[in-house]
Symmetry: C2
Subunit: 301 residues, 2 copies
């Protein structure tokens, strides 16, 4: 019944440690082997008992596994794949959790020729990083996108079952389409959030203390994703350059149109857009992709 | 001990109805008179018993009041002030809750010459609108900014006490400085959120259904404030045009610099900014201006 019996997780940050906890919660008989390049993270993982075994190298962590999950920044996937290539068991399935997929798929294919590879992206996370930030329910009700590069192995179906067991819903698409979709639903929002937080930090006439005090006017909503892991996001933007630049171009055109409407006092154009954008949130809440409580469910007491 | 005994609230939407509820909770002996231009809102306010009395016109609502609070879109403040001018009691204090202040201060001064005027802005809200969306604790721990135009009346101190009784902290500044500060902490974030939600709605290659499904990658954080009241926000952008355009210009420059870094693969520039922006969120949480729980405290179950 279990899709995999011996799962190796390389990288024990927010996502890797959440997978470990979710596997424990939902498939307790699975044997978990973990590794992280950072000795401090390994020590924390040991203390939290995230895995049955912790290995000192990525290669040592995979020898016995029937599923290997690379939970490292997308820029490191190729190097880690090369590091483990010679130690993998014959029937292993290799997957990842990276936020961009075309580059990752290519890197995995080149490093692991002939292997069963199923690139994956669970669309879930928080602004926190590291092994202590993870939790077992992170993937409940979220989507996990698979972008399989080989179709004949049955590996895709097993990875799908694995993610469904962790509470996720699974969708399959090409890596290229994934990268376009995520450019607008994830990468562009992060880029904009990082930018506005930077802009607000650099003002001369408004102090940083004022920005913080009056952030409840809207600004604080942007600071959450602008607190995400810098290395992870640097890699995403470099890896998904073309799609991000295209979405950025469209966004900039739309912003310029709005700027013009403000300059010329075109209230109708503003009101039209502001009315149109209300409906999307309703759909997101209806489809269970955000909290129905006002203000994201923040406490008001 | 009470700063005011008979409070008139003109406009019973999210903010007006929250003030009514908060007055009931914190100053139960205050007599509350309400009015809203929309008969449906008046009917709802009646059903919810938000006020002791509801008047059919703004003028009728203010005759007896020692504090009048205008809770209408900033573009309507001048007209409402003219409507009530002849009915105000001699010793009344007039205040408002608008998100821009220089234009409001001028409109109030022109419509109500010689009156005690204390323009105010409670920096609080949710994405919901209308009399049913309000709640008594909305202002707890939030800041309310006063931009007094007359200094000699003692009115400012009484309005300050009023807001402190509702649970807010109070700060005083000039209308012009307020408009600059809020342009970056509130108006620009709303403008950007409206824009990206519009951009995502208009794509040809990515469906709206995909945008909704994968919104947990970051996009959903923007949809909350892009669901705010369209009329309120149209008026804010038209009223605070100069400061908004200045902040927009700075933001666009910063975004262009980031776009260039992505195009040329300058990972260090990206990593530097992404590291810098992490610290601001920590300060916002430390100063009680956002929920300390990850993901804004959204439920994960």
């Amino acid at each position: 019944m279990l899709p995999f019996a011996r799962v190796s997780i390389i990288g024990l940050g927010l996502i890797g440690s959440s997978i470990a906890r979710a596997v424990r919660a939902h498939m307790p008989t699975v044997r978990l082997i973990g590794h992280d390049a950072d000795p401090q993270v390994r020590a924390t993982a040991e203390r939290l008992q995230l895995c049955d075994d912790l290995a000192d190298t990525a290669a040592a962590a995979v020898t016995d596994a029937d599923l290997v999950i690379l939970c490292v920044p997308v820029g490191a996937v190729g190097a880690v794949a090369r590091e483990i290539a010679d130690e993998l068991a014959a029937e292993v399935v290799v997957t990842d959790v990276g936020s961009s997929k075309a580059g990752v798929a290519q890197a995995l294919r080149e490093a692991l020729p002939g292997r069963a590879i199923v690139p994956a992206h669970p669309v879930a996370g928080t602004e926190n990083s590291g092994p202590e930030a993870g939790f077992a329910t992170l993937f409940h009700g979220r989507w996990c996108i698979l972008t399989p590069v080989e179709e004949s192995t049955g590996a895709t179906e097993r990875v799908q079952i694995f993610w469904e067991r962790l509470g996720a819903q699974v969708e399959t698409m090409t890596p290229e389409h994934h990268d376009l979709v995520l450019a607008v639903t994830s990468h562009l929002p992060h880029l904009i959030a990082y930018t506005i937080v930077g802009t607000a930090s650099d003002l001369e006439e408004v102090t940083r203390s004022e920005v913080i005090k009056y952030s409840a006017g809207g600004f604080r909503d942007f600071t959450r994703i602008a607190a995400s892991d810098p290395t992870m996001w640097r890699d995403v933007f470099l890896a998904n350059k073309d799609a991000v630049l295209e979405m950025l171009q469209r966004f900039s055109e739309d912003l310029t149109a709005l700027q013009r409407a403000i300059r010329w006092g075109d209230g109708d154009a503003l009101h039209d857009l502001f009315t149109r954008t209300r409906t999307i949130r309703r759909s997101i809440v209806e489809q269970g992709q955000d909290d129905p409580a006002p203000d994201f469910g923040r406490r008001h007491d």
